[in-house]
Each structure stands twice: as structure tokens, then as C-alpha cells.
């Protein structure tokens, strides 16, 4: 009995380890809070496993798990009856499938990390203050001696540069 247990455990642990970060990120992308994403990701794997899920190719597995995760989210929102899903799920899925079909966004993150390094010191500072420190626009403006509008423009341009850079890297 014990040895049999070890087998399915390692299969399951494999599955979870390979896909949990991606599913969690996907749920965040669909608008879940961090805690919701955590619970729903757990339910996603349990559901898939209990439904007798079979591991196929990495891409098919990821897509299957995303579908389960999406359904879990819909059911949660339906039950809450309060928080509508503002994201267009179909568009979200196609955006996701384009950049993170099977790697759970790992490549995207790696590309982004590389792209961040190429920003000028000043722009990177603004990006870090905004996304890491959650500084207000006025705080960033004060730190960089800019107007609030200037910060807004700078950040918008930074996002465009980063998006282009990441996509270029992913296409390579």
C-alpha cells in the first residue's frame, strides 16, 4: 500500500510543481486577489486529479489546467454574486496562450528581467517605485524631479518599451 501511494504522490507532485506557478499567475491575470488565486489554484489541481486527469504534452496539460481554473473562477464569482469578472475571458486566454502557452509565463518573466536591465537608471527607478514600492505618482515625481504628468508619460513609455522588448525576445 505504501509503495503504491508513493507513485501517485510523485506523479501529482510532478504535476503541481510544473504548473502551479503558471496557474496561480493566470488566475491573478484574470483578476483574482493573491489569496483567491492561491485557493483556486489548489482547487484546480485537486479537481483535475480527482477527475482522473492524464498528463499529456506540457502545452495540452497547461491548457487543460487553465480551463479548469477558469471554471473554478466563474463558479466562485457566481456564488459571490457580487464581484463581476471585468476581464474578457476569451481575449485573456488568447493573450495568455500567445505568450505563455506552456511555461506558465517563465519565459516572459525572464525576458522582462532582461529588458528591465536595459532601461535607463532613471526610468527603471520610476518603474521600481511604481510596481515594487507602490509609491504614488506624486512621490515618484518628487523623487525624480518631474511633474506628475511627466511621471505618467514616463511610465507609459516605459511600459510600451518593455512590452515591445519582451515580445521581441519571445519571438526570437
Amino acid at each position: 500500500m505504501k509503495t503504491a501511494t508513493a507513485d501517485w504522490r510523485s506523479e501529482m507532485a510532478d504535476l503541481v510543481r510544473a504548473h502551479q506557478a503558471g496557474i496561480w499567475r493566470y488566475l491573478r491575470f484574470l483578476g483574482c486577489t493573491s489569496a483567491e488565486a492561491e485557493d483556486l489554484a489548489q482547487e484546480t489541481f485537486l479537481t483535475a486529479w480527482r477527475d482522473g486527469f492524464e498528463v499529456r504534452s506540457s502545452e495540452a496539460t497547461a491548457a487543460y489546467l487553465r480551463a479548469v481554473a477558469r471554471n473554478r473562477l466563474l463558479m466562485l464569482r457566481r456564488k459571490e454574486q457580487s464581484a463581476p469578472i471585468w476581464v474578457d475571458l476569451d481575449v485573456a486566454e488568447s493573450v495568455w496562450a500567445e505568450v505563455a502557452a506552456e511555461d506558465g509565463l517563465d519565459d516572459y518573466l525572464a525576458a522582462l528581467r532582461a529588458c528591465l536591465k536595459r532601461l535607463s537608471e532613471r526610468v527603471r527607478r520610476a518603474v521600481e517605485m511604481q510596481y515594487r514600492d507602490e509609491a504614488s505618482r506624486d512621490e515618484i515625481a518628487a523623487a525624480l524631479a518631474l511633474t506628475a504628468a511627466g511621471v505618467k508619460t514616463m511610465l507609459r513609455r516605459a511600459r510600451t518599451i518593455l512590452r515591445d522588448c519582451v515580445m521581441r525576445r519571445l519571438e526570437q
Binding site: E11, T47, G52, V91, A110
Partner: protein, 627 residues
């Protein structure tokens, strides 16, 4: 790039970027769910015996409450599955399992031990071996987070028990690192909290202490001492200790040193426990320099620079002045710091001497080489050319523990964590020869267990050092280094043959040649044979040593005090790791065991362990401080 003009699409791409930015900038990280998921499934008992079909059993109550509708749906689906598809489904599942088992056997236990938490999945470090299989027991607590502050650790699972009849060989690389002990100490003493389980590497805890092993003669670089006695946390089991003692060297006769310090002087190092502590530690080292030794200092922050050209020990004041001038500032953007350090080491290369780069940092290795793999390759390549790398870790908040260990391994060096001036003194003064002078490299241990006397064994610690059996004789396979005077201790928990009935039942193997029964009485007494392979520091071919061990039927109390102390340290480590193999070990029993085995303890290291156990005990009792 082909961007759509759909406003939704554009907005979502922005959203994705912002989410990715938060993750890249460490504002948020995906949680690790494997422990939770597996434990829910354990409670579910999803597995039926024998054929291993999945059947959706009723869910746990907690789960059902939140998901009533779906519970019904999935029970129906599951039952349909079980009723209609077993004929198709079972053979495929069975085939998959057999493949997986096959892989485990083929690779020994090399790869699948590592189950990194997903915090590293986003990292560009290759933590995840391809097709890796984690082992059965997930012993880590359900929700381990990386330090709230960004320290990074790698998770590794406890090695499981292995049946001797199935895998009689246990192979691993030695490890004399002690960083984990200093790190644990810092958590318990300075931070007043229990360390995260993954920060505890039991072998590094054990190896922190000196066990007074006999020093070898001149012809071999180290001696081995084996001992076996009753296992303190499970009296039906036995504990085997393997102790290796490296040759000591006369300080006067130690080879000349060519040291290049590569110092992180970025803004984050500007804290009393980082750069200032590093300077104090280096001053201690400088005081012991001899005339023929050389030191250079390379710093890196916004740009790399040579803070001190390679300077002989005769100009001690120049070295001290350069140290004094070091200041932290600037972001860790790094230039070609590490390459500069290696170049200087190469330019001042001392044949048959100690040529070593010492990287001192609080965290990231943004030292000029863009990606981690390239960095590892560079380090491994330079180690081959004779310049080794050691890493000294400082401070908290940004500590990349996993990476530091990895890179020092690649560089034929060791990883130390300096949590205070005492530790600096231990690493840079007391054990400076061990720190700097390598007496043997690529040291591998292989233990062959005797199936006539041992039914199963478990290696305690060394989880990320386990090698495949065939790697033992493969001289190309990198392994650990041992420094002058260093000792290495490894413990095995073994299950003697007579308690066989307690093991999970496996059918008797049909095709195992039962040679042993035919052979001499010797095979009935010996527990195991220890084989060691090592290379001389400058050699490419390995040498081999062999030691057998017989069971003397010693009780734990009769064992040597060093044996008892090592067992106490191991049991402390298992408690901190929440190991499922801890048996009946408790902090009380561990404290008692360690206190009884303290011995003379001139330097007070063992007394310190007692203090740490007490602290951990208090923290465990106080639920508000337990994380």
C-alpha cells in the same frame, strides 16, 4: 510584433506586463501549494490498492463546503470514469508509473530529490532537473514562504528509506559547508524566530562541529572513522556515522596564497552586519598574511573597480588602508567584476599555491556576467584552470542562499555565512587553512550496504549532494572539496534485517542472485563497505579508499560522545525541518542528548548549540512567534 487594436487586448497586455513587473520586482511571488495539495489528497485516500485507479472519493469536509455543486459533478464524472474506462485507463496509468519507477532506478537517487519551491521557477537558474521526480514524503510544512524580505532558499526533501535489496549503493558528494548553521543561529538568536525549513541543511549543521577524529598519516589526505550504535530517535533502528578527517598542515609550510577578494559594495551592503563586518573579518585575515602571500581587492557596485592591486603580505599597511577606504554605495548593477577578479588571480597565479577568488556579498551576483548559467560555466572553467572560488555570505534581506551554495560548488570552493565577528574569526582565522587550502577535490562517498544485515537505509542530510551510483567512478563528475584540517561527518539511519516485518511489503525479488548466503560468515557480520574517491588538488585522476564496518551491537549510551553529539545535531536539524523521520525526537530529548555529549568543548561551540536548541524549543512552544 503584431499587436491587435482590440482595446481589451491592449489593456490585457498592459495588465500582464504590470503583473509580471510586480513579480520580477519581488512584490509578489506564486505560493507553493504542493504540500497542501498532497496532504488533502492523503486525507482523501484517492488511491485504491493494487491497480492504482483514481476514484473520486467523497471530498474532505472543508472542500465540500466551498464547492458543493462541483463536488457532485466530479463524483459523477469520477464514478463514470471508474465504471466505464478502467479497461482503457488502467494499462496506460500502469505504463506511466512503470516508466517513472524505471527512471528512479536508473538514475539512482540523483535528480529527483530536489523539489524547489516555485519561487525559483521564475528564476533563470536551472534549479529543476529535467523530468525530475520528487520522492514520496513531502516533509516540509504546508506553507513555506521565502523570507518576507526576499532571502531565497532552495527546498530539498529528506532522503527516504531505500531498500538494500533494491538499491544497495548510496552515493553522494561530500560537503564541508557550514553556512546553514550560522544562518540558523542568526534566525534563532538575532531574529528570534524559527528558521524556514528549507534554510536548514542537516549536514551543514553536523559539520559545523569538530569531532576529534584521528588525523591521517602522510600517505593519504584523509582518514575515515566509522561507528554504529542504536538510533536515539527510533531504538529499533541503528545509526551509522561516517567521519572523514582531512590532513592538517603546518601553518609555516602551507603553500603561498594568491587571494583576490571580490567585494559587493552596493548600497545594500551599507549595514553594520555587512560591509563593516566584512572589513573587520578581512583585517583579521590580513594580520595572518605571510610575506609570500598576496591579496588583491576588486569591488563591484555601479561599476567594477580594482580597489587594491595584488599586494604582497609585506605591505600589510597598504592592504589595511585600502580596506579602510571601502564604502558602500550605488546600486548593484555590476560591471565585469568577476572577470576582473579572475584576471588578477590569473596574472598573479602561484603554481602549487592557493589561488582563490573570495566573493563576499549579501545577495545577488550581478557581477557582470549576464545570466546564471554563463556565470556557473565561467566559475567551473576557472576552477579547472586552478583558480577556485569561495563565497562568504553576509546579512539578511536579499540573501540568495541557494545560488551561493551552487556557485561555490561549481568553483571547487565552500560557502560560509558570516553572521558575526565570531564566525568571521572561525572562518578566516581558526580554520583559515581549511578555508583556503584544498587537500583533496571531487571527494565522493559510496556506501555499499549488505543485504544480509541491513534491510533499508536513509542518508541524513546531503539531499542536494546525492549522486547516481555510476557517477562514483566517473572522474568527470564534479563533487565536493575538503580543506586542510576539515572534517566531514555523514549519518545513515539503517533498519537492521530483523525488523523487516515493519517495512511496507514488497514481493520477494525473483531474479536477485543470492550470492551472499553462499558466501562466508564475513558477509553475515559486515553492515556496509565505505568507498571513497578523491583527487589530489591538481590531479585529474581519482584515487580510491575502502573501509568495511561491522555491527558491534553498541547501545546509544555506549557510543562515543562525538557520535552522540552528532546524533543530537541531526535530531535538532530534523526537528527544525519538520522531518517526518524524526521518530520520537523532541527538543527536550535532543537537549538532553546534546548536553550529555558536550565533552570538554574548549571553544564553546557545543554549548552554543544547547542554547540554540533551547531557543527553538521556546519558539515552538510560543504559537505567536511560530511562523
Amino acid at each position: 510584433m503584431n499587436q491587435s487594436h482590440d482595446p481589451n487586448d491592449d489593456e490585457l497586455r498592459d495588465r500582464l506586463l504590470e503583473q509580471a513587473l510586480r513579480e520580477v520586482l519581488h512584490k509578489e511571488t506564486p505560493p507553493d501549494l504542493s504540500g497542501r495539495i498532497l496532504s488533502v489528497l492523503d486525507h482523501d485516500q484517492v488511491v485504491l490498492s493494487g491497480t492504482d485507479q483514481h476514484v473520486a472519493k467523497p471530498k474532505t469536509r472543508r472542500f465540500r463546503l466551498s464547492l458543493t455543486e462541483f463536488a457532485v459533478a466530479s463524483v459523477i464524472v469520477g464514478l463514470l470514469f471508474a465504471l466505464l474506462l478502467p479497461a482503457l485507463h488502467a494499462p496506460r496509468k500502469a505504463a506511466l508509473r512503470m516508466q517513472a519507477q524505471q527512471r528512479i532506478r536508473q538514475r539512482g537517487m540523483a535528480d529527483h530529490q530536489r523539489l524547489p519551491s516555485p519561487y525559483y521557477l521564475h528564476d533563470d537558474v536551472g534549479y529543476l532537473p529535467e523530468g525530475a521526480l520528487p520522492f514520496a514524503e513531502n516533509v516540509l510544512p504546508d506553507r513555506t514562504r521565502p523570507g518576507q524580505n526576499g532571502d531565497r532558499y532552495e527546498r530539498s526533501l529528506d532522503s527516504p528509506f531505500c531498500f538494500v535489496r533494491e538499491s544497495p549503493l548510496s552515493t553522494f558528494s561530500i560537503d564541508v559547508d557550514t553556512a546553514s548553521y550560522a544562518n540558523v543561529r542568526r534566525f534563532l538568536v538575532q531574529d528570534g524566530q524559527l528558521p524556514p525549513a528549507e534554510a536548514v541543511r542537516i549536514e551543514e549543521l553536523i559539520n559545523y562541529f569538530d569531532y576529534h577524529y584521528e588525523v591521517p598519516g602522510d600517505e593519504v589526505p584523509f582518514a575515515a572513522q566509522l561507528e554504529v550504535a542504536e538510533c536515539p530517535w527510533y531504538s529499533r533502528h541503528q545509526l551509522v556515522r561516517i567521519g572523514l578527517q582531512g590532513r592538517t598542515i603546518n601553518p609555516q609550510k602551507s603553500p603561498p596564497c594568491n587571494l583576490v577578494f571580490l567585494l559587493d559594495v552596493s548600497g545594500s551592503m551599507d549595514s553594520p552586519d555587512k560591509l563593516p563586518l566584512l572589513k573587520r573579518g578581512m583585517k583579521l585575515l590580513v594580520q595572518q598574511l605571510r610575506d609570500e602571500d598576496r591579496v588583491a581587492i576588486v569591488v563591484y557596485a555601479s561599476s567594477e573597480g580594482l580597489a587594491l592591486r595584488s599586494t604582497p603580505g609585506t605591505e600589510r599597511s597598504a592592504i589595511l588602508a585600502a580596506l579602510e577606504n571601502l564604502q558602500a554605495g550605488g546600486s548593484t548593477a555590476g560591471g565585469a567584476g568577476i572577470e576582473l577578479a579572475y584576471r588578477i588571480a590569473q596574472e598573479n597565479f602561484v603554481p602549487h599555491g592557493v589561488n582563490r577568488v573570495l566573493l563576499c556579498t549579501d545577495g545577488d551576483f550581478n557581477v557582470g556576467v549576464t545570466d546564471t548559467t554563463a556565470l556557473e560555466q565561467l566559475v567551473a572553467q576557472r576552477a579547472k584552470a586552478g583558480v577556485f572560488l569561495s563565497v562568504l555570505g553576509f546579512g539578511r534581506g536579499n540573501l540568495n542562499d541557494a545560488m551561493m551554495e551552487e556557485i561555490s560548488n561549481k568553483g571547487n570552493g565552500n560557502y560560509f555565512y558570516i553572521d558575526g565577528i565570531t564566525e568571521a574569526h572561525k572562518v578566516l582565522v581558526q580554520q583559515v587553512h581549511g578555508t583556503l587550502v584544498t587537500i583533496a577535490k571531487d571527494v565522493k562517498i559510496q556506501v555499499e550496504f549488505n543485504p544480509a544485515t541491513v534491510s533499508a537505509y536513509r542518508l541524513i542530510g546531503y539531499e542536494n549532494r546525492v549522486l547516481a551510483a555510476e557517477d562514483f567512478n566517473d572522474d568527470k563528475k564534479d563533487a565536493g572539496e575538503i580543506g586542510a584540517g576539515h572534517s566531514v561527518t555523514a549519518l545513515y539511519e539503517i533498519i537492521p534485517v530483523m525488523t523487516d516485518h515493519e517495512m511496507p511489503v514488497v514481493d520477494p525479488l525473483k531474479y536477485q542472485p543470492d550470492r551472499l548466503t553462499a558466501e562466508s560468515d564475513l558477509s553475515r557480520q559486515e553492515l556496509l563497505t565505505l568507498k571513497i574517491r578523491y583527487k589530489e588538488p591538481e590531479a585529474d585522476e581519482s584515487k580510491r579508499l575502502v573501509f568495511p564496518l561491522s555491527d558491534s551491537g553498541t547501545s546509544f549510551e555506549q557510543a562515543s560522545t562525538d557520535f552522540q553529539f552528532a546524533a543530537a545535531v541531526a535530531s535538532f536539524g530534523m526537528l527544525l525541518r519538520h522531518s517526518s523521520y524524526k521518530g520520537n525526537a523532541t527538543y527536550e530529548s535532543t537537549l538532553e542528548m546534546a548536553a550529555a555529549a558536550k565533552g570538554p568543548d574548549e571553544q564553546g561551540y557545543r554549548a552554543e548549540l544547547l542554547d540554540l536548541i533551547r531557543r527553538a524549543q521556546l519558539l515552538t512552544q510560543d504559537p505567536s512567534s511560530a511562523q
